[in-house]
Symmetry: C2
């Protein structure tokens, strides 16, 4: 049986949609023996993480902590704590993750209003303005960096429209967080979630979230219980906040060690410098890919720096090429999702995987495979 | 700011209700660089984990895999996938975790029937028999090892009663799993969940679950969507099962590395030998504690081997004593929960923390503190 063998995984170069390469300091942090999850020393680690989450979200939000599950659980946490049955939610959807939000809205028993854009395009704020003329949703939600299409969605104008309509503004920052400008307080974002395995370059499994005082008020004034016990922020917050922490669930101690170290690396580099690094390597990749004849899926000005969606050139077999990249070069890139399957590649330059060397390695390998 | 310092946590001896001490091989596994979560090599790791989960659950259940979140999310996964609004659920509650199940039943919109026992006592099957005379619940749920009280709950008779009444039998095995006999198939358990940070001695954060074919049929024939997207097994299963795996969420790769290694350690020791080790060290602890004048909370025959609830002797200040254990001896034991706060200690002998040395270290320290 294969489980009888010691783990012997290959040393991959992770250039897909996440996880990204993890810094040795972060890997090492997980080999530190565990303390208890209510140990005063662990509470201090949780407090450090909260503080660094605030710094990286550019937010003063008191309710800023980490859901003990991956980014999709962060998405669910935000939606189900803010929505009650019968509420209306306006979801802007231009890819897989917008559709996922819409699905969760239904599971909340809330009414769904949908503004859609073609996959690969951004959401035009005028479309949102139109819908808000005849509706009063409790929240407007949108994906900042649509990982399925590579679109960078401008947020400020839609945030203003949401607030003018009296709605909360909820943002999915799973892929953008720590990789490009994201100003939670300045942009009026009321609820935001992310994941750890993208531009933060920690292992997957945790979801940093932040809620504005307005969002906290909505949560506090709920009339019904949140449908999930595990993700009910009215209880989770007593585990993360206050002088005396109350047991809710058992936090993933080792994963928190890793997250703390990953945040430290972000702050040592400087958040703004990190954003700029992601842009620089995106430009490098773009130049090389275009020289090789690749076309980007997304129009200029709306492209993500950390997730580059390129059209697979005619005559290139998707599965064969990706499999050669993986098996001959140890490079992982992302396949196209849903309607882009077989048509698009998603090249991640996230966190530790956003480097000149990563760009060069991939360009060289692609050149050998395709030509 | 404290986050600017390198992590410098103390080397604790974990003898509380979990996490337990983690073997260096498991810690080391997490320092292995990550592969992608859809990498064929990761799929193989997932398959190894499924296989070892079946071996340790003593089950042939096809639907046996790991929820990407802690044990409480495993509890929620089982309940919300099996229950639909209007269904009736019989919850046997004799501690914190039974109450938690009851809470979740309410959030499912299901009707709750409760059989309660005093905290520190087990559930008498006759009580269940009585309730089943005038009700036809969809499931009967019970906690095998009630971590809040130290009670080992006999399961077989209640399982039979559940089946005779046409109900599914759901078991919380968070603390019992890999620490005392648990025979999922032989005892007719239809749904079971556990955690990784107890007798498995992996870090917290994952929840192995297993569903019988009967339970799978119930899930397949649901009329309504599961209220949680993240925990919806109809989707999660396509990530864990079948020839072609479909992306659902991103699995916590490093945590899975750790779990695989923890399972390997269990199987190298032998599951039955591991159960026996837990019982041996329980007897050792008991002898020493009783010699010091401690009384166990639970009557003999119903005591857990891995979680020993003892009454705090008169004249001993709970907080002071536990704080001295932690700060002077680096030993963590568990406080009493809820109505047992200040009255009971919970001494964990779980997984790597179930050893003669652990017992001796604790007895010596307690002797110095108390006398």
């Amino acid at each position: 049986m294969s489980y009888q063998s010691e783990q012997n995984t290959s040393t991959r170069i992770l250039m897909g949609p996440g996880p990204s390469d993890v810094h040795p300091r972060v890997l090492k942090a997980m080999s530190i023996p565990l303390v208890g999850h209510l140990d005063p020393e662990f509470v201090e680690i949780m407090d450090d993480i909260k503080e660094m989450a605030r710094l990286t979200y550019k937010s003063k939000n008191e309710m800023t902590f980490v859901v003990s599950a991956p980014g999709s659980a962060g998405m669910e946490t935000c939606l189900i704590n803010l929505l009650e049955p019968g509420d209306e939610a306006l979801i802007c959807s231009h890819g897989v993750f917008g559709s996922r939000m819409a699905d969760i809205v239904g599971r909340c028993g809330a009414k769904l209003r949908l503004v859609e854009a073609e996959w690969g395009r951004h959401i035009d704020p005028d479309r949102v303005r139109d819908v808000l003329k005849d509706s009063r949703p409790k929240l407007v939600a949108i994906v900042h960096a649509e990982t399925s299409t590579g679109v960078l969605q401008p947020l400020e104008e839609i945030g203003k429209l949401a607030h003018e309509a009296g709605a909360l503004f909820l943002v999915d920052a799973v892929t953008s967080y720590c990789g490009t400008e994201l100003l939670v307080d300045e942009w009026g974002i009321d609820a935001v979630y992310s994941g750890t395995q993208k531009c933060l370059s920690a292992p997957p499994g945790l979801s940093p979230i932040s809620m504005s005082p307005r969002a906290v008020e909505v949560i506090t004034n709920r009339k019904t219980k949140v449908q999930s016990w595990f993700l009910d922020l009215s209880m989770v917050k007593n585990y993360w906040e206050g002088a005396k922490r109350t047991y809710h669930h058992t936090a993933p101690v080792s994963a928190m060690y890793a997250l703390r170290e990953a945040y430290r690396l972000v702050l040592e580099e400087g958040l703004e410098a990190r954003w700029e690094r992601h842009w620089e390597n995106h430009r490098r990749l773009r130049q090389g890919m275009e020289a090789m004849g690749f076309e980007f899926l997304v129009e200029e000005g709306y492209r993500l720096p950390m997730l580059n969606a390129v059209k697979i050139p005619g005559g290139v077999d998707d599965a064969v090429a990706r499999s050669r990249l993986l098996n001959e070069y140890n490079i992982e890139i992302g396949a196209g999702l849903a309607k882009f399957a077989g048509k698009v590649w998603r090249i991640g330059l996230m966190g530790e995987s956003s480097s000149e060397n990563h760009v060069n390695i991939l360009l060289s390998a692609l050149d050998e495979i395709i030509n």
